[in-house]
């Protein structure tokens, strides 16, 4: 619970953050809301030598309507996502998912960029990002590049963002008026999901699953069934298909498979 020694470098802008990352390389770690990084540092599971604090880079905190897409700055807090009128209208699934993250303290510190970059299969927002088929903007020494949400999560707690890069923006196609559903199964109010799912309807429906593999994942077979107009029972029956959920003290693999089906059905029916 006592972190190892580190240097603290606050960055005032994206450019300053990038240059600090260039300077310190893999000794450095970005600090956004700190709600995933600091617990790891306190347990000494992460021991960065330099912490580059981007928490006060205000121009990366916004939610903007850009016509076909909604653009969200990486440093936007869960609470802002949850309460945004723009998101409630055009991407209600994401606003709703954000309201299920942790407790109010967590939501007032944690950022959408931090949640995505942490790459935790147990987190809620990655599932919503997968379901809405968002695109992610990554800034690096040689400028910006975009990655689809499908390509973003590469391994357990690993993402496409390289050591010298920064996630800056999330672009989500509008899903105004489409059906959507979100289900989270946990024991205590502020817990991570044992299993969760984010379902986005529309022409190209998406189903993002929480805690059903080593990365945030889509339930591709269930999505296909949904696209081809199958009943909610038929879609739900495929919710775990092709996925390899973990076994841990909160639930074993077969229970997670069962939960996935129940939750997808509920997300579709409610």
């Amino acid at each position: 619970m006592i972190p190892a020694k580190f240097d603290y470098k606050p960055a005032q802008s994206k450019e300053e953050a990038l240059s600090l990352l260039a300077e310190y390389g893999d000794d450095a770690k970005l600090l956004a809301g700190g709600h995933s990084l600091l617990p790891l540092m306190k347990l000494r599971l992460a021991t960065p030598e330099v912490v580059v604090d981007i928490g006060s880079v205000d121009d990366l905190s916004y939610i903007t309507d850009k016509g076909d897409v909604i653009a969200i700055g990486a440093l936007t807090k869960h609470r802002q996502v949850e309460q945004s009128d723009i998101l409630k209208e055009h991407v209600p699934l994401l606003a709703h998912s954000a309201s299920h993250v942790g407790d109010p303290q967590v939501r007032n510190r944690g950022t959408i960029g931090g949640s995505l970059c942490h790459g935790d299969p147990a987190s809620d927002l990655p599932a919503a990002i997968l379901a809405t088929r968002a695109t992610l903007v990554i800034s690096g020494p040689s400028g910006d590049r975009t990655v689809t949400s499908d390509d973003f999560f590469t391994d357990f707690w690993e993402t496409e963002v390289k050591e010298d890069e920064l996630l800056t923006e999330i672009l989500i196609p509008k899903c105004t008026g489409e059906k959507w559903g979100f289900q989270k199964f946990n024991r205590r109010a502020q817990d991570w999901a044992i299993v969760g799912c984010a379902v986005q309807g529309g022409d190209n429906p998406g189903i993002g699953m929480v805690n059903m593999g080593s990365t945030p994942v889509r339930a591709a077979e269930a999505e296909n069934a949904l696209r081809s107009g199958s009943s909610s029972e038929e879609v739900a029956e495929l919710a775990d298909s092709g996925l390899t959920p973990p076994t841990d003290i909160h639930g074993n693999e077969s229970y997670r498979r069962h939960l996935a089906k129940i939750l997808v059905q509920r997300a579709l029916d409610n």
Binding site: M1, I2, A4, R187, R188, I249, H250, Y255, I262
Partner: protein
Amino acid sequence: MSIVGAKVIRKEDPNLLTGRGQFVDDIQPIGTTHMAFVRSTEAHALIRNIDVTAALECEGVVGVWTAADLNLPALPGVPGLERPALATGKVRFVGEAIAVVVAESKYAAADGTELVIVDYETLEAVTSIDEATADNAPLLYEELGSNTVAEVTTADDHQAIFDGAPHTETIKLVNNRCTAAPIETNACLADYGPAGLTVWASFQAPHHLRNRISAWLGIPQDQCRVITPDVGGGFGQKINFTPEFFVAPVLSKILNRPVKYSQTRSEAMTSMYHGRAQEQEVDIAFDDNGKILALRVFASQDMGGYADGTGMGMPVLTTAMSAGCYVIPNVSIAWRNVLTNTTPIAAYRGAGRPEATYLIERAMDHISYKLDMDPTEVRRQNYIPKDSFPYQTHSELAVYDSGNFEGALDELLNIMDYEGLKEEQNANRTNPEKPLLGIGFSSWLEIAGFGPPGSLEGFGHLGSWESVQIRIQPDGSAIIYTGASPHGQGTVTTFAQIASEYLGIDFDKISVRHGDTATIPQGIGTMGSRQVAVGGEGVKNASLKIVENAKSIAAHKLEANPEDIEVTDGNLFVKGTPSKSLSWAEVATFSFQRLELPEDMDPGSLDTTILQEVPNFSFPSGAYACVIEIDKQTGDARIRDMYLVDDCGTVINPLLAEGQVHGGVAQGIAQALFEEFTYDENGQPTTATFIDYLMPGAPDLPSYKSGRINTPNPNNSLGAKGIGESGSVGTPPAVINAVVDAVRHLGVTHIDMPATPQKIWEVLQGGSK
């Protein structure tokens, strides 16, 4: 109106709520150093070598010590089984202290511990009672030849009664291992200077700790002072001895500087004593009416890696209280204490009685399953009638003082709509939209008010009384000094209420001080729901004695008979002549002035010290019901309502009594549905964080509906029994009985604690039992 029994708000709160509380970690004398332990990462291993070289070079580190460097005696404990202050040659659980680092900051201390290299020779670990008692099991102490360190076999197993009984049933139960996890972890600050040793400690019994530290260090008690400032919860975890309280003074002496230890949560999870961890085999014999004919209990207590004195006593309390609220003509008990490579076990709120209540209340429901009888009816068949007290149980320890068990059940059924719930339960079973509904009962009784001579000495305490000293100040206000050492219970308020009632001094002019061996008379401490029933009785008796003397002073000044003096509203006056009156302030001032006193009275003689004894334990009881809803698809169980009828005799402060019940019930629900401390096969803890150890919070718990009956305690004049542990004793069986009730129609008769959604789902699938 009487102030005893009034809903007075806590005197303690303004200080705590405005951040003016003072906990050990807030205290920072000049020159304070910080201590941290290198803790075992192995459950069972020989220590081949400890290399501290790198740690010594770490910036900010003042020193590093191992057992070999300090050559310390073992900690006070069970004779022959004392645990070392620092591991000597062998480690017996993950989290055991191996070496100690002192540094200029807590950060440097933590860095230092990371640099100590321990070379282990891993041994096979035993992590359960079954493994530890198997043939050829690896032994924690080779020299003992067994992991079983105490065993009591039954004198008479009543087999003939079982053979002839219309019905018998065997039940196997596991009382899951829990940790209390108080919000303030263990902490201490030792300052050993030329004038002696002062230890600030987060502890429930300061004198107990002082006596042991002074004996262990070989310094006179007058030069050894223990202060327990504000203490952030204890629940029994802070009456036991862990290395920090002894090692910090030693290092303070060596360094001639204050040494502070403030434990991290990660350490607390594995190094503070755990609770429960008891397995039981229960046989019952009963007739067609549900009347129980015989009960046989065999309790196996997991002791963890070291045998603690209170831990050893857990199955004693369980087997003493196994018959619960019932007339059971034949009871046979047996138990054993078994070492395993896990965190040591000691008292945790309820300490042995939740285990007893769980077994007998599960047994009652098993009778109802077998006979298809209503569970409340089974209980009515067996209750001890309310006119049969004192009631001698099968156990010498337990002579029930008083009780009205059927009355509590009647009141419980009064505050809930049992018939309506049963109808709803039936309707819900066939309605796919509705959750399964379960209704579970628990008629419980516990042994509290640890106070009769001998009751705490067995656990290593100096006595079983509690000390109370009341000093009347010259302005008529009063200060109570007590050996009780409250840490959240609100005793400052209840003691002031009792004193105000019997002294006739305004509640706002009474302070209560505790937790300092230099200023408080020798005391025992706060545990076993004893404060009001023992210490509170002392407050009353001391007050009465003071008032008697105050009346003599008033009578002397008012030229009246002491018998004619009455005390009301802060005044002492002559009965029938209110104009002849003195204020308490005047009498208090006179009490210090030779020339104003009657001849036979010395100045200052109002002050009174009492070591209050009581002739028997107290036996709080009650009836609880849990109404639970289970999601048919996921197995998720959520409590809809808890109905709670408590009988703790006289209630001093209903707000505080209710608060104690709420907290206890929360911990009972936690044990039944959420919490279990577990290990993998190598003895590595698998629930050592709050992500995995599911301590519930307020949003996860229901609101409670309370009722109350009052059967006074005949063994103290207040009539009070104690309420600190009731909730955690009575709740787990009510919850599990409700869970099983919800799935009874599927033929289910048992689900182990904690009843997690996965376990319930498996049962719904027909997957087990």
